[in-house]
Symmetry: C2
């Protein structure tokens, strides 16, 4: 289902691109590697259009404009956040040993682990320099969200050694995925000078969006259509990812299934026969339906949160279109 | 030669320790790992005294006090800087595959590479949160110094693949070692509200100290006494570190020696016979004396820089004692 890109994601792509390019300007090998990583350039330094959805900076700009501030005034906060997101991807790819992202070789696959650690560290430092142009409060909010995201990464890593229940999974998601999404909404409020109450509502909205977004992603990792999603059916089971379907199965399963699930996820590689058993078990336990219901629930929470914000009717419509797009997205 | 610890390094150890402990407080596995890394706690969470010299935060506090601001007001900037220094060590240890530091297992050796990347990233984010309490300018200066340090790491890494001449080596040192030392001096000035001229002088002083400090360290890596320094004679040659003596040899050598140096540094491991040849060649080329003269020169530059700063006579004396200590230190 190719849907039309929501206006929120399209409205300021060129300004975001120009500002990212500006933040990563310079003739060092690290900066070149970062420009390739974020999709500004190819290996030969030629300009390309490979930046992805730009969800987080687009949200900052959308909220800021809706609350009465120009997109250009909100740009430093938006770019600071996008740089944090991208630095975390550089380090994620090392941690997950992923050799490709967005169809391109990852930084570590191309330049080695040591230089990829440097590249991520540099982008992290640059994110602060940029965010500080939006003021100390924006930078502090971004740094706190970054710390929370990293704690989420650490929890996710711990789940490789043991299986999490749904409540632990949600805590991890609120940090790993939710921290930067909450930050996106809140930064829009901060640059617009919003008070504590509005900022709290923006954060709640971000949390609901983060949960819907991540659970949807996790469902696609097991039941997605490989041709569309880029992941074959069952791929997260083969990768032994302890994503939502595993946590939900674990929470629902009786002792016998739980023991067998643990033993399957302890195998490397997971035999194809076991992959099928896991998917069948998840379906038998109703986890796929649970997940779809959870996504719908968090989306409804997000829509209610939207209603409670002082946005224009047009802005609310655009935000709902974005939510629908994110919920229906197949990649 | 056990020298007495200079007053600058001893004056505020307890406050620095308490503030580091505060910055790294919390009951997550990452924060526990960081407290062990910086020498606040052992593996069982018992308090230990393993924090090292604390050179950088001590310099911030010294400069701030000399320029008329209380140490406690300068503490956030000092701790922010010390956290940056320590995050870089966590990532350095991964990059250099060093399994121990200060006699303790490194974070990656204990918790794996993925979690050590997270631990460094978390400390980086926390450094910003802390530094921001000293204001936007302090945080911006720290973030810029961090970026420069990382560019220096990247240059140092590139020198593993090719040999650098002395001017390239100094450029690398000004970034990798110098950036945070310059930042230490400058942060002291910033929290004291110093103007552009004083800040420029503080930076120059930091640059000279950084060069003296690093060249001295590099000389000890080749000619240090293993019992005192913790590195056996010739250890940096065995580790194929392209430190000052190699750059100076390369700059001084005729083509034949240069070719042989390159070929020796391409071997892994370097045969003991070649280690001896390298050290003899360095001595024959006068590199050890060159290095000692360079250290003296940069120390003289630093002392002249000190004289030009509006410090008390007592403060200047303490700073000279610190320089002497750093220059004479055997570890």
């Amino acid at each position: 289902m190719a849907e039309r890109t929501p206006r929120i994601l399209g409205a300021h792509r060129e300004e975001i691109r120009a500002a990212m390019s500006d933040a990563l300007r310079g003739d060092t090998s690290l900066l070149r590697a970062l420009r390739v990583h974020v999709g500004l350039e190819d290996d030969e330094g030629r300009s390309i259009d490979g930046m992805g959805k730009l969800l987080r900076p687009s949200l900052v700009l959308f909220v800021a404009e809706e609350l009465g501030v120009s997109a250009s005034a909100a740009l430093p906060a938006a770019i600071g956040l996008e740089l944090v997101h991208n630095f975390s991807l550089v380090h994620d790819d090392i941690q997950d040993q992923d050799r490709t992202r967005r169809g391109r070789a990852t930084v570590w696959a191309r330049h080695g682990v040591a230089e990829a650690i440097n590249a991520g560290d540099l982008m992290h430092a640059l994110s602060i320099s940029v965010a500080l142009r939006a003021g100390g409060e924006a930078a502090a909010t971004l740094a706190a969200a970054t710390a929370e995201m990293i704690e989420g990464q650490s929890l996710d890593l711990a789940f490789e050694r043991r299986t999490a229940y749904v409540d632990e999974y949600l805590d991890m998601v609120d940090k790993k995925t939710g921290a930067l999404l909450r930050c996106a909404f809140e930064l829009g409020g901060i640059v617009a000078g919003a008070g504590a109450e509005i900022r709290g509502r923006l954060r709640s909205l971000g949390r609901a969006v983060g949960r819907a977004f991540q659970i949807q992603d996790d469902l696609l990792g097991v039941w997605g259509d490989g041709d569309v999603v880029g992941k074959p059916h069952g791929s997260d089971v083969r990768r032994r990812k302890k994503s939502y379907p595993v946590a939900a199965s674990f929470s629902r399963a009786a002792a016998a299934d739980r023991t067998r699930l643990e033993s399957v996820y302890a195998k490397e590689p997971v035999p194809e026969r076991d992959v099928h058993w896991v998917i069948e078990t998840m379906e038998r336990l109703g986890v796929r339906d649970d997940g779809a219901a959870a996504v719908r629930g968090y989306l409804a929470e997000a829509e209610a949160g939207l209603e409670a914000l002082p946005l224009s009717a047009e802005g609310k419509g655009e935000a709902r279109a974005l939510l629908g797009y994110l919920a229906g997205r197949e990649r």
